[in-house]
């Protein structure tokens, strides 16, 4: 068995929320005991609806959440770059070491490139900056940086790299900005890229271009990709393995084909039957009710109040994840029978 590049164990990220308009505050357990692994060259998808904790998981891996309000309550983020031992726990690294890693070995692609790129800095300089900061031993000359940035802009499918190099972010279209963002994420040849809703802000024809690009770059750079999205279609087309999150916990984790063809958790099943699809007809089966208030979670399984197959035990205790098939784990009392 291959060793995982990234191993997340029992991650817990909480938020202390102040009371609003007289109401009491509380602790929002945005991420509560999340564990998964990402293998070299693999795309691991994290899917769920808004507020399920998928983005908080992604941001907390590199300690990018401001604390407070976030509380890194527990867990380990083990990172094992190939051939390098011992492994490191990203959460235990001191700030200096973590900064050296960010952008170089592990980089991020965000949803809205307009807000994550610096609006008053030309694209070329922004990308070049990453290269300059992370070149520890011998500093590259400005010409070398320029050459590499242009090559990377070309690599991500920008037609006139010289023009984009001299452009400010607002001068580029949404799709081109996202390509520039990808160029920035890849310029140091990272091992792991965390992509948080990378195509959500884009039109569907541009989304298709960007997804194709990511897939192609993944193969040629042997990247590991942690892909966060709410779109099950994108998961089906790009991920190798996938975890479904609900209220801060992973309810089901499986290889992608297994998840779509043999979903075992009632929430996964509910999600799959509530999306309108191009390839099928038939009535939508909506999941009844709505997500519980994160400050007042139900006693047992968090999905129990909306679950069509709820049993008595579901209201008492949260089920432990069980392996239903090799590589397919489910946290549901139905599996205990």
């Amino acid at each position: 068995m291959e060793t995982a590049l990234l191993e997340v164990k029992n991650l817990a990220v909480h938020f202390q929320t102040p009371g609003s308009s007289g109401g009491p505050g509380g602790v929002n357990k945005a991420v509560d005991g999340v564990s998964f692994q990402v293998f070299p060259g693999e795309t691991f998808g994290l899917v769920g609806e808004s507020g399920c904790g998928k983005s908080v998981t992604a941001l907390s891996l590199l300690k990018l959440l401001p604390t407070p309000p976030a509380i890194l309550a527990g867990g380990e983020v083990i990172y094992r770059p190939e051939g390098r031992r011992p492994e490191k726990d990203l959460w235990q690294l001191d700030h200096e070491d973590l900064i050296k890693l960010r952008g170089k070995e592990i980089s991020l692609i965000f949803q809205e490139p307009m807000t994550s790129l610096n609006p008053v800095m030309k694209i070329g300089r922004q990308i070049g900056e990453v290269l300059r900061i992370h070149s520890a031993e011998k500093a590259p000359t400005p010409e070398e940086i320029r050459r590499e940035v242009l090559a990377m802009l070309d690599r991500v499918g920008i037609h006139h790299p010289e023009r984009a190099y001299e452009a400010y972010p607002h001068e580029l279209s949404g799709g081109m900005r996202q390509r520039a963002m990808i160029a920035m994420a890849l310029i140091c040849q990272p091992k792991l890229v965390i992509a948080d809703e990378p195509t959500t802000a884009l039109d569907v024809t541009i989304q298709a271009q960007i997804l194709e690009l990511l897939k192609e770059l993944q193969i040629s750079y042997h990247l590991s990709l942690l892909l966060i999205t709410h779109n099950l279609g994108i998961i089906a087309e790009t991920a190798h393995r996938v975890a479904v999150m609900y209220m801060g916990r992973i309810v089901e984790l499986a290889p992608v084909k297994e998840l779509f063809h043999n979903p075992l958790h009632p929430y996964t099943l509910g999600l799959l039957s509530s999306i309108p699809r191009l390839d099928r007809e038939g009535e939508l089966k909506a999941i009844p009710g709505m997500v519980p208030n994160p400050l007042h979670l139900p006693a047992g399984c968090y999905f129990a109040p909306r679950c069509p197959r709820v049993m008595e035990v579901c209201h008492k205790e949260y089920p432990l994840p069980r392996e239903a098939a090799p590589g397919h784990t489910v946290a549901c009392w139905l599996q205990e029978k």
Binding site: E49, Q209, A236, S274, P276, D279
Partner: protein
């Protein structure tokens, strides 16, 4: 099945141009043709899906029909009356018949009004008890409890707010409801609830919908017919089943091929479009899709193809599709 009957709504050559500031004043005023000669009809009780990518003008079409913005040109008929010839007070009797539900229920509901007043706002000249009864009845219809009458919008989730917005729109028993990205801001599990609600209301109240959305799967699910827009113009319009089974316009083909399908085994021919949509200014020559079209010929760059009927209730704006 849609039966041929008198049209509820008829839109003819609708235009909406926005001035674009450029260069010297007075010289070469440029126009952004957000909507450029758009024509379609909606039968009573029918749902027409209007689909396209951002900036294609689909929202402007909806707003122009309801006269939330004044069209630059073209005519809009509602039950045979030309709305575009009416103004102000004369338009008022038609307003209750045409309502709209917006995308974002967080900004479309006045945060200082309670549900009773939000939903009942359009009921003018109705005594308070009657108004309350009507509001309670419509709340039940959209799946909300009468207990919420005296609550404010911030106390509700996105899905509940969208139900309130729908209640507000249907309390006047409109004949046409424009849904402008009405389910786009919702999570999938809630989105399905609202789609099912809209389908139920359509059956119960015989409302026609102009369903505007960028999401093809949602449009396919709810519409009887679908119009595909690109840069201010309709490229193809057809009954839903035929459009999705056999798209004729190259843009429709590319659009359908780009939608990710939630099935890992699904194999498709990806028709990847190069480039992105042009800006909507100065596009008087040729087909608007030609610069991105993989099949474009010389003629496509010089001449604009007409929107022609090709049989089976379909119309296509492309030289490559043979007319009947």
């Amino acid at each position: 099945m849609v039966i041929e009957m008198a049209n509820l709504l008829e839109v003819k050559d609708l235009k909406k141009y926005f001035p674009v500031r450029s260069g010297m004043p007075g010289f070469g005023q440029k126009w952004l043709k957000a909507v450029d000669r758009v024509s379609f009809t909606i039968a009573p009780g029918e749902t027409l899906g209007l689909v396209g990518e951002s900036g294609c003008g689909k929202t402007t079409v909806g707003r122009s029909i309801l006269r939330l913005t004044k069209p630059t040109g073209g005519r809009v008929f509602f039950r045979g009356t030309e709305l575009t010839a009416l103004n102000g007070r004369k338009l008022r009797p038609f307003r209750p018949k045409m309502q709209i539900v917006f995308q974002d229920p967080y900004s479309s509901l006045n945060p200082r009004m309670i549900v009773l007043d939000l939903v009942g706002e359009g009921l003018q000249g109705v005594n308070p008890q009657k108004k309350k009864d009507l509001v309670v009845a419509v709340l039940e219809r959209v799946g909300l409890s009468p207990e919420i009458l005296y609550h404010y919008p911030h106390e509700f989730s996105g899905g509940q707010r969208q139900r309130i917005a729908i209640a507000r729109a249907i309390v006047l028993q409109p004949e046409l409801l424009v849904c402008d990205e009405a389910v786009s801001a919702l999570d999938v599990s809630i989105q399905a609830q609202i789609i099912n609600l809209l389908i139920k209301l359509r059956q119960e109240m015989k409302i026609a919908y102009l369903f505007i959305s960028h999401d093809l799967a949602v449009v396919k699910h709810i519409s009887h017919r679908v119009a595909v827009m690109y840069l201010g113009q309709i490229m193809e319009i057809a009954p839903t089943g035929r459009l999705f089974a056999n798209p004729l316009h190259p843009y429709t083909k590319a659009l359908l091929a780009a939608v990710p399908v939630p099935d890992p085994e699904f194999k498709r021919e990806r028709l990847l479009l190069s480039g992105e949509a042009r800006r909507g200014t100065d596009m008087d020559e040729g087909c608007r899709f030609a610069p991105r079209c993989p099949y474009a010929e010389n003629r496509c760059h010089r001449e604009e193809p007409p929107l022609v009927a090709v049989g089976d209730g379909r119309q296509v704006k492309c030289f490559l599709v043979k007319s009947k």
